[in-house]
Symmetry: C2
Subunit: 269 residues, 2 copies
């Protein structure tokens, strides 16, 4: 093997996370996305590789644009590799793109920005067709203006201990992260581009919270959403989010929202 | 019971058809949407009712706006009935609306228009997140202009024997139906209002064929789509659709497309 230069291959991966225990391998105890992709690579190339993923998405979280990379001796063109991987993958995981990248590219450590979207359906009834991809909030008219005001306190470089998971709470110096933007919008079209107004009338609304940052603590996006929802429901004031952040106390923030409303949209390098 | 006037209640129902053997009850051999809703009504009201559905959607077909009606002695307000039904329904079926309607309203026989949408994802890879709600056509650039031209031959009142199912083929006088419109469009946003271009780049397109008519033969929408796809792929000419229709010969038309791409959008009265 000495002297043989391996290619570095970048994958862009879409998955429905419903059936998986998240991205990260768990020593084979549960089906994870990473393991499933690894097995497909092994079947297609005969190689056992190390697959580095950009985001350690949690159980039930979805992705349109997870990114991962691995080194390979395969001589197949990227298009052929992609086709072979997809042949070995179940229908809920799809390699959207396979491309050769410079040797130093590392999906895990070189990401410049990660964008996640959390989708909330509000109204008197939930949605059967969107139930796996949205969180249902019964009959609530959310105050989007207040939520947007609160979100502004999160932009920038902060110690996010108050919004990170318990596991990370004690490592304070590790809890500094940078958020680039938090967009809160009402979707006008839904799954398949149908107009929400046409289908649901005024009964249901679909609210999306799109968070872009350099990186996130474990559960951080879902806790940001849980905290912004407290503001949207009028339970706390927008200014309280600033205080929560400053407190570095996880108990002061809102709940960690369920995973199925969360989707990893894209990773930028 | 003599002299007691029952209310007539209209339901608007959304469902993910993936787990059901269609709408129509099959004497309990398989789970159907109609049976599942009937059981919820029985649990909520204590009544055994007759539930008339507007569209006999097939195994695996979805609905945003199926309509059904039943007569009831319940004195609960419609909002309360809806909530009770939804409490007893699984998450893949939702009663969106319950309303009192005049006694003569009959969901099955009084429909003025039914609108269905068939969704097709084209490109080098399919979509993991939309796989239950769209048909994947590998790598095909469809000629939408030719498809639209072909679709015009279907508008109006015709004998649709060539596009109906075998079971109905021999009852020629029953095979006359009226189609109001066939719209073929490329969706720009997808599930949750994300821009398709943003997520998928130029690699994937989502094509929707929306058919509105007074009524349809069994499998007719799916066969119309199969035939229009032959045109879109350049295998037949738009004018051939006119000939196929005239022939009244089911063997001349395209294939019946798989059910999971089909969704009943709405019923108008």
């Amino acid at each position: 093997m000495v002297g043989i230069v391996k290619r570095n291959i970048k994958l862009t991966i879409e998955y429905d996370g419903s059936a998986y225990f998240g991205w990260q391998s768990q020593n084979g105890h549960h089906a994870t996305v990473q393991e499933t992709v690894l097995k497909a690579i092994q079947k297609a190339t005969g190689e056992k590789v190390i697959l580095r993923g950009a985001s350690r998405t949690d159980t039930g979280v979805h992705a349109f644009g997870q990114v991962a990379n691995f080194h390979s001796l395969s001589t197949l063109p990227p298009e052929r590799l992609r086709a072979a991987f997809n042949d070995y993958l179940p229908h809920d995981i799809i390699i959207r793109k396979a491309e050769d990248v410079p040797d130093k590219f590392n999906a895990q450590f070189k990401a410049k920005a990660k964008t996640y979207c959390y989708t909330i359906v509000t109204g008197a009834t939930s949605s059967a067709l969107q139930r796996h991809f949205s969180y249902y909030l019964k009959g609530r008219a959310l105050d989007l203006k207040a939520m947007r005001k609160a979100a502004r306190y999160l932009i920038g470089r902060h110690d996010f201990s108050a919004l990170g998971s318990a596991a990370e709470r004690n490592r304070r110096h590790h809890n500094i992260r940078t958020i680039y933007s938090v967009n809160i919008k009402e979707a006008t079209t839904m799954f398949n581009g149908f107009s929400i107004r046409n289908i649901y009338g005024r009964e249901n609304r679909i609210i999306q919270i799109i968070v872009k940052g350099k990186g996130f603590l474990y559960n951080m996006v879902r806790t940001i959403v849980g905290t912004l929802l407290l503001v949207g429901k009028g339970k706390i004031l927008p200014e309280d989010v600033k205080k929560i952040l400053k407190s570095r106390d996880r108990n002061k923030a809102g709940p960690t929202m369920p995973p199925h409303g969360l989707c990893l949209l894209k990773i930028e390098y």
